[in-house]
């Protein structure tokens, strides 16, 4: 536990203290997830079945990846409304160069990611240099990039990806059991070992440390969760590669945000841009980078979505995907006011949203009801966010 930004408590006692101060951490989301699981499994016994949970994992990846990008700009106190259109556009670019121009899949994917990065760079420059509000820049992006997508697709409207090709294969690849278990072992042993090691270093430096039993309890808790997840998915088709890709992105961004100067400066700019500027931080650079990362992740999400669908069409990146990605970030616990949030919020938030979607689907509820329920959850999350912001004693 070296992350000074981590809101994870030293001990249960400190945790209770922080809860009393209004710093609720991830508990509302986790509680919400448990409640969702109880309600839907009571209404339909297929909700917690391995097949449904595996599908849920598959459905999470695309929206979750876009949501991770949204978190990068939300941390600055900005917004990216173009993420949906950008995801669709970049997936279309990839599909066209692959299917029509015969590019190899990795080259096509790289081009799509580069296009995303370029778009984000344009947004960032318009925001910082032309001083346009991010809301307006990305709203223009929402329409403009959608327009370009429709233009590129105008002959045909749909382009199919080869079913057995590499790109479609991304969403139809399942880890062999031995690899799944090796990953679980790595995901428990590496962070666990790192935590014990930094605890040693902190002791050597004379700094306060988490009690060892609490550290081990948390590592054990993580192990139980991961083992349960792998057991459930193994009862169906196995652990999907798509989930691993999304998970790896979340872990990578979590490490970057908590342990690098870039991450620290993102929080600083989101908390008080003027203070960051006076401290000698290049605020413009941080902002442009964040927008670039947001659009690149949107492109990655679009690629994953195209892989699942084995096609791109005029609806790619459209309908509710943008709103779901933003909602996921906020439901996960990222503040709309900037400066507060974690990469894991994308995972937690999208888990909530997809659980609701999947549960409603099993109950064959109309999508009108689904929208209303998701909206209510989002409103609740924003209310908690606003209260936490006001509740902080000055």
């Amino acid at each position: 536990m070296t992350g000074t930004l981590a809101r994870k408590p030293y001990t249960p006692k400190v945790a209770v203290e922080r809860l009393r101060q209004g710093d609720v951490g991830a508990w509302p989301v986790v509680g919400g997830l448990v409640a969702i699981a109880i309600v839907f499994s009571a209404l339909n016994d297929r909700f917690l079945a391995p097949e449904n949970l595996t599908n849920l994992a598959l459905q999470m990846a695309a929206t979750g990846t876009i949501s991770l990008g949204i978190i990068m700009v939300l941390l600055l106190g900005e917004i990216d409304l173009s993420a949906g259109s950008v995801s669709g556009l970049c997936a279309t670019i990839m599909t066209i160069v692959h299917v029509k121009q015969g590019w190899s899949p990795p080259a096509a994917i790289l081009l799509a990611l580069a296009a995303g990065a370029g778009i984000g760079l344009v947004h960032g420059v318009m925001f910082t240099k032309l001083r346009m509000p991010s809301f307006v820049v990305t709203l223009a992006g929402l329409m403009g990039w959608l327009g370009l997508l429709l233009y590129l697709l105008r002959q045909g409207g749909t382009i199919n990806l080869p079913f057995t090709g590499f790109i479609s294969g991304l969403s139809d690849t399942w880890l062999p059991p031995w690899l799944s278990w090796a990953l679980v072992a790595a995901l428990v042993l590496v962070p666990g070992g790192a935590a014990v090691f930094t605890r040693r270093l902190r002791l050597a430096a004379g700094l306060p440390v988490t009690p060892l039993w609490w550290l081990l309890t948390r590592i054990a808790g993580l192990a139980v969760l991961l083992v349960a997840g792998v057991l459930v998915m193994s009862a169906d088709r196995g652990v999907p590669l798509l989930l691993i890709i999304f998970g790896a992105l979340v872990v990578a961004f979590d490490l970057v945000l908590r342990h690098t100067t870039f991450g620290r400066h993102v929080y600083a700019v989101g908390g008080n841009a003027e203070a960051a500027r006076r401290a000698g931080i290049n605020v413009t650079r941080i902002r442009i980078l964040a927008f670039t990362l947001a659009s690149t992740l949107a492109a990655a999400g679009g690629i994953l979505a195209a892989s699942r669908l084995s096609a791109v069409n005029q609806q790619s990146g459209g309908s509710d995907i943008l709103l779901m990605a933003i909602a996921a970030a906020v439901i996960g616990g990222t503040s709309l006011f900037g400066g507060r949030g974690r990469a894991y919020d994308a995972l937690l938030g999208v888990l909530v949203i997809q659980s609701i979607t999947s549960g409603m689907y099993l109950l064959s509820v109309d999508s009108s009801v689904r929208f209303m329920v998701t909206a209510a959850v989002l409103a609740l999350a924003v209310a908690i966010d606003s209260l936490a912001r006001r509740g902080a004693p000055r």
């Binding site: 992350g3 922080r18 870039f262 620290r264 929080y267 008080n272 003027e274 900037g338 000055r394």
Partner: protein
């Protein structure tokens, strides 16, 4: 240690400073007083590189220096705590202290090194904060002022300038911050405090410099001067 002489600065039609002078010594707290618009902030800005004066010279240890930017000032050992503190409320004490000057290996933050240094510094300054890893927003006004002052010490400055450090604080927290200023003096730093509060100034300063309409209107040894005399200098009342 630092001395500014004949500093003038004009903003359009307003002569904010008109040949003002100021001398600061190591291990001494100097209070800068004067009515609103007397030019205190402008004089401080000239020393900390925020504005460039039209005329005047600044010397450090007798040598002429040019202070064109805040960065120049920092490089010369001049550190300023602005009235609005400029803290990131969402970050913890460690992150705020090292903001922009993070200890790192390549780009990876060295959390333990920074936390150790923070604890040592706060201990030396006798600043009491129960948990230095909560966001600064959770701290009291006095604690935040203390964090801002501690932060000014990270670059090992020789002169610390404080703009109205107690203006927003209650009685107890004011006492805390004044005690902290006293400890800066014990560390051998030159300290310049802008204040409107005579009681605070009498408690903490060794010398009072009064500005009036951009000019020097008197310099007093705090311990040996009656309050009325300082007030008279500030208001310009005939003695």
């Amino acid at each position: 240690m630092l001395s500014a002489t004949g500093i003038s600065k004009r903003y359009g039609a307003v002569q904010a400073l008109d040949g003002a002078s100021l001398t600061l010594r190591a291990g001494e707290v100097t209070a800068l007083m004067g009515d609103n618009g007397a030019g205190k902030s402008t004089l401080v800005k000239a020393i900390s590189g925020v504005v460039v004066p039209d005329e005047g010279a600044i010397t450090i240890d007798g040598a002429n220096v040019r202070i064109g930017t805040p960065h120049d000032a920092q490089a010369l050992g001049v550190s300023t705590v602005y009235q609005d503190l400029a803290l990131c409320e969402n970050l913890d004490v460690v992150a705020n202290l090292f903001l922009g000057t993070e200890r790192r290996r390549a780009t990876v933050l060295r959390h333990i090194v920074m936390e150790r240094a923070t604890r040592d510094l706060l201990e030396q300054l006798d600043v009491r904060i129960r948990d230095i890893r909560v966001p600064v927003a959770m701290l009291s006004g006095g604690q935040r002022q203390s964090v801002a002052i501690a932060r000014a010490l990270i670059g090992e400055p020789r002169l610390v300038i404080l703009d109205e450090p107690t203006a927003a604080l209650g009685v107890e927290q004011t006492a805390q911050v004044l005690a902290l200023i006293g400890r800066l003096r014990e560390r051998g730093l030159a300290v310049l405090v802008i204040s409107h509060n005579l009681a605070d100034v009498r408690k903490v300063s060794d010398r009072v410099v009064v500005l009036r309409l951009g000019r020097n209107a008197g310099e007093f040894d705090t311990a040996a001067t009656a309050q009325e005399e300082i007030v008279a200098a500030i208001t310009g009342a005939a003695r």
